[in-house]
Amino acid sequence: MKQFILVIGLAVIAMLVSMTLLSVQTKSDRQTDLDRAVAASVKQTVKASQAGGQKEIKSDKDMVAYFVNVLSTNIKSEGDINIKVMGVDYKDGLLDVKVTQIYKYLNGKRGSVSIRKCAIYE
């Protein structure tokens, strides 16, 4: 009985430690993924806005919609997204966004990671 309780206790501790490590790992991974996805999407969107003969982006809202489409394919990690568009100029190529991904830990608590990226066409 005594041994049983000890095993159970150790298992609980091991679980708590692994959950903590997992949550730290989760945040770090998510940040990396978000950084990469947003940077790539912003750059691709600005480039697309200035591409010769392009028909997809004819307004600032088109440009934002384009960015969302690109981001949806670039981002790997799952979670809700908030996009704050700080600046957009489809004519001369500017997109400045702050993207925040909201996610849930295993214990149900909510976490978030953010990135701000701005790209211009020189």
């Binding site: 919609a65 489409n69 949806s72 997204i81 100029d89 701005c118 211009i120």
Partner: protein, 840 residues
């Protein structure tokens, strides 16, 4: 016998018939209802001779009368008036008459004993005409002389004109008063040797309502009136003295030898003196009183060729002095060529004291070389003590070379007095406080005055402040060498500057304020908020005094060499800077300190910590970065004499090896970046084998161009002299780093690329607020749309659009893109836009 009787009867008959003839020519009984009716000089003399001793005798003129010899009024009270039309009593113009005697001309009218004469009290105008122009070549005498105990009145229907008395070696004036003279009428165009119209010798002259003395001239003093030997003048509201002139002092009035002028009202204007006092001169022990509580004289537009445009009081070249009391008076627009455009107050020179008090004086727009408004000589005291009180007074808009408001040489006490908007071209716009003078000020204001030096006060004497006295910040107090401000009573003003100070001597240690009352000290009178120590600690302080050139003021008690708690002195603020002398982070670095000229400061005793080094206490702090300068002990006390830079000196913990990691650097043509050592070596990392996180300086030792040619070589090359973003190029930089001891070093190299961005097809780049200046010069974001970019980068709010997408939204978008074979077409964008912006 028969013959004798015949002759006697003949003579008696003649006499009787003459008597009956005269008597028969004058009608009336001399009473008020039945006056004597006079048509000739003889009638007049007869009527006067019939005056009763104990009552009034009334005479009316029905003709002009010419006086050939003195008409004596010796008894009774006689009232002479004009009737029917205006009449004159004329002075004879015949040289054979007694009044024009070439050797001893007789007086025209003389009132003597206890007799009383009234001329022109009612009826038509009665003129006394002296015909001075016709008699200019003759010696002449008084037109009217009132002996002691006698009395005369020039009624409001009387005019005295064209009278002249220039009798030499006599006290000559057209009207001479030893007794009592009342004036209600007009005196004009008269001339005298001492007094153009009236000379009063020990008698009384009363200028009452409607009295009007004008256009008279004195060959010496007193253009209108000359008072002497305790003579007294009363001037009441409604009387006017104007347009008179004197060759010497007192264009209007001259008051001398213990006489008294009580000018309670009226106007004294446009008078002119050849020497002092355009309006009124008072001196030689005389008393001058101006105004009373319910009436104020106006003294305006008078001109003096010397002292006192309006008034020279307490004057006198030999027996100068007297008493002047100003109760209520307006002095405006007067001019003096030397001192005191408004008033010049003379000092005592022995026989008589000179005293003065001023209350409710309104003095403005006067002009003089010195003391545009008021000039007070030395050796003048107050009427109630040693200080001259100047109370409830306004002195404004006066002009001068120096001392436009007041040129002061005496002790004065300014009480609730305003000195404003006076202009001096040189010194002392408000006050020139002359050497030896004392100006005390516990209340009142000095503001908006202008001068080259000392807009408010040129302080060359003693300036005493206390209670709520202050000099407005628009008006500096100028302190010549060795002069200061005395605070003789605790200052009670709660805020604002007490004085803006300008000093001739700017050297630190110069005393500017002396706190001179028991228990007072310079420190408490310098600060509203703070203390000498708190100012040194860098705390905010609020001071009561300031200098025009922002020289710092400090309590004298703190200053070595002065150490006097009573003083406030000029000082100088210094910085004691602590320099870590390191590229590394240093813990416990002390904050820079403030020090003041010749004051003690205690240096920081902080123990400094730097990784890989030990703080060398035998050399630190040190005036030289090398450690070979002057040593200042940690926590030591020093007397600060200049700005001080103190370097920490370090001993490096020994190492045996350094390693270096370099990275190539990339720049674009036209980038606004200076390619200096800091920029190009910013990615070079040097580490030691001791594992301590020390930052080592990296120096560039040579630069090669792309073809391997050395374009610069040396120790610590100034990179920006050889590299720039003006044109494209590739450079190889050789760098070196050494331990602080110099015994271990490491070298390395890296390339610097300056690329033509368009050639390298740089199109889209990331940008942040920090690097906004690195935008390529050809980009629209560099100039044309710079503001838009800058605005976007500096935003930190919810943005232009704030979009929330669930993971399902994202998956849906992803599916759509996927179904379009990962081509984001216009249709895909359109759908997404509709979903993002037009739903919900």
């Amino acid at each position: 016998m028969k013959k004798i009787l015949l002759i006697v009867f003949f003579v008696l008959g003649i006499s009787l018939s003459f008597s009956v003839k005269v008597k028969a020519a004058v009608d009336g009984s001399g009473s008020g209802t039945n006056p004597y009716i006079v048509k000739s000089e003889d009638d007049l003399r007869w009527a006067v001779s019939k005056a009763v001793s104990n009552g009034w005798t009334y005479i009316v003129l029905e003709n002009d009368v010419t006086i050939s010899n003195t008409l004596k009024i010796s008894k009774g009270k006689i009232d002479i008036r004009a009737r029917g039309k205006d009449r004159s009593i004329n002075k004879s113009i015949y040289w054979t008459d007694r009044v024009n005697d070439v050797n001893a001309p007789a007086k025209m009218i003389k009132v003597e004993n206890t007799a009383e004469l009234v001329l022109g009290s009612a009826g038509n105008v009665l003129t006394i005409n002296g015909f001075k122009e016709k008699l200019r070549d003759r010696e002449n005498n008084d037109v009217l002389c009132i002996e002691a105990s006698a009395k005369a009145t020039l009624g409001e229907k009387s005019v005295v004109k064209d009278c002249r008395n220039m009798k030499m070696n006599d006290e000559s004036a057209p009207i001479r008063v030893y007794g009592y003279l009342n004036v209600y009428g007009e005196i004009k165009n008269c001339e005298g040797l001492n007094g153009g119209a009236i000379k009063c010798i020990g008698g009384y002259v009363n200028l009452d309502k409607n009295a009007f003395i004008h256009d008279c001239y004195s060959a010496t003093e007193g253009g209108a009136i000359y008072l002497k030997n305790k003579g007294t003048l009363y001037m009441e509201p409604g009387s006017v003295i104007s347009d008179n002139r004197s060759f010497e002092e007192g264009g209007g009035i001259f008051c001398t030898y213990e006489s008294e002028a009580r000018i309670f009202g009226g106007i004294i204007e446009n008078n002119n003196s050849g020497k002092s006092a355009g309006g009124v001169f008072s001196g030689y022990g005389s008393t001058l009183i101006l105004g009373r509580s319910n009436s104020a004289p106006i003294i305006k537009n008078n001109i003096s060729k010397s002292f006192g445009g309006a008034i020279r009081c307490n004057g006198g070249s030999v027996d100068g002095g007297g008493k002047t009391i100003i109760n209520n008076c307006e002095i405006v627009g007067n001019t003096a060529t030397s001192y005191g455009g408004g008033i010049s107050v003379g000092g005592s020179n022995g026989k008589y004291e000179s005293s003065l008090s001023i209350n409710q004086l309104n003095m403005h727009s006067n002009k003089a070389d010195y003391g545009g408004g008021l000039h007070i000589e030395s050796v003048v005291k107050g009427t109630n003590g040693s200080f001259i009180e100047i109370k409830n007074t306004g002195i404004y808009n006066n002009t001068s070379i120096s001392g436009a408001g007041i040129f002061n040489q005496a002790p004065i006490d300014l009480i609730k007095t305003s000195i404003k908007s006076n202009t001096a071209s040189n010194k002392g716009g408000g006050i020139y406080n002359y050497s030896g003078a004392i100006t005390k000020m516990f209340s009142g204001s000095i503001n908006e005055n202008v001068a080259k030096l000392g807009g408010g006060i040129y302080q060359a004497g003693t300036l005493q402040l206390g209670e709520v006295g202050f000099i407005n910040t628009s008006n500096e107090v100028y302190l010549p060498a060795n002069h200061h401000i005395d605070i003789i009573k605790k200052m009670e003003k709660g805020s604002g500057l007490l004085a803006l100070i300008e000093t001739e001597i700017k050297a630190p240690g110069t005393i500017v304020v002396n706190v001179n009352y028991p228990g007072g000290d310079g420190e408490s009178e310098l600060y509203y908020v703070g203390t000498g120590d708190s100012e040194k600690n860098g705390d905010n302080v609020t001071k009561k005094f300031k200098t025009t050139d922002n020289i710092v003021l400090r309590p004298g008690a703190k200053v070595e060499g002065i150490l006097n708690s009573k003083y406030i002195v000029l000082s100088k603020k210094y910085e004691i800077s602590y320099i870590s002398n390191s590229l590394d982070a240093v813990l416990n670095m002390p904050k820079d300190q403030i020090g003041f000229h010749y004051e003690k400061s205690t240096l920081s005793s902080n123990a400094l910590i730097r990784e890989g080094f030990i703080f060398d206490v035998s050399k630190s702090w040190n005036s030289a970065a090398s450690g070979y300068g002057k040593v200042y002990q940690r926590g030591g006390s020093i007397v600060v004499k200049s700005n001080l830079k103190l370097y920490a000196i370090w001993n490096e913990i020994p190492i045996s090896k350094l390693t270096m990691q370099t990275r190539d650097r990339y720049y674009y043509v036209g980038q606004k970046i200076v390619l200096n050592k800091k920029e190009v070596t910013s990615k070079v990392e040097v580490k030691n084998d001791a594992g301590t996180n020390v930052t080592y300086e990296v120096v560039v030792t040579s630069i090669e161009n792309n073809s391997g040619k050395v374009i610069a070589e040396g120790y610590d090359i100034k990179v920006e002299d050889y590299l720039s973003t003006d044109k494209s190029g590739i450079y190889v930089l050789h760098v070196k780093s050494s331990s602080y001891r110099g015994d271990v070093s490491v070298t390395g190299e890296f390339k610097v690329y300056v690329l033509d961005a368009r050639d390298n097809k740089v199109e889209v780049r990331f940008i942040s607020e920090e690097f906004i200046e690195t935008v390529a010069p050809w980009s629209v974001w560099k100039e044309e749309k710079y503001d838009e970019l800058s605005k976007s980068l500096s935003r930190d709010d919810n943005g232009i659009y704030n979009l929330d997408l669930t993971k399902e939204d994202l998956n849906e978008a992803k599916k759509r893109v996927k179904s379009a074979s990962y081509k984001i077409s216009a249709a895909v964008v359109k759908r997404e836009k509709r979903r993002l912006f037009y739903t919900g």
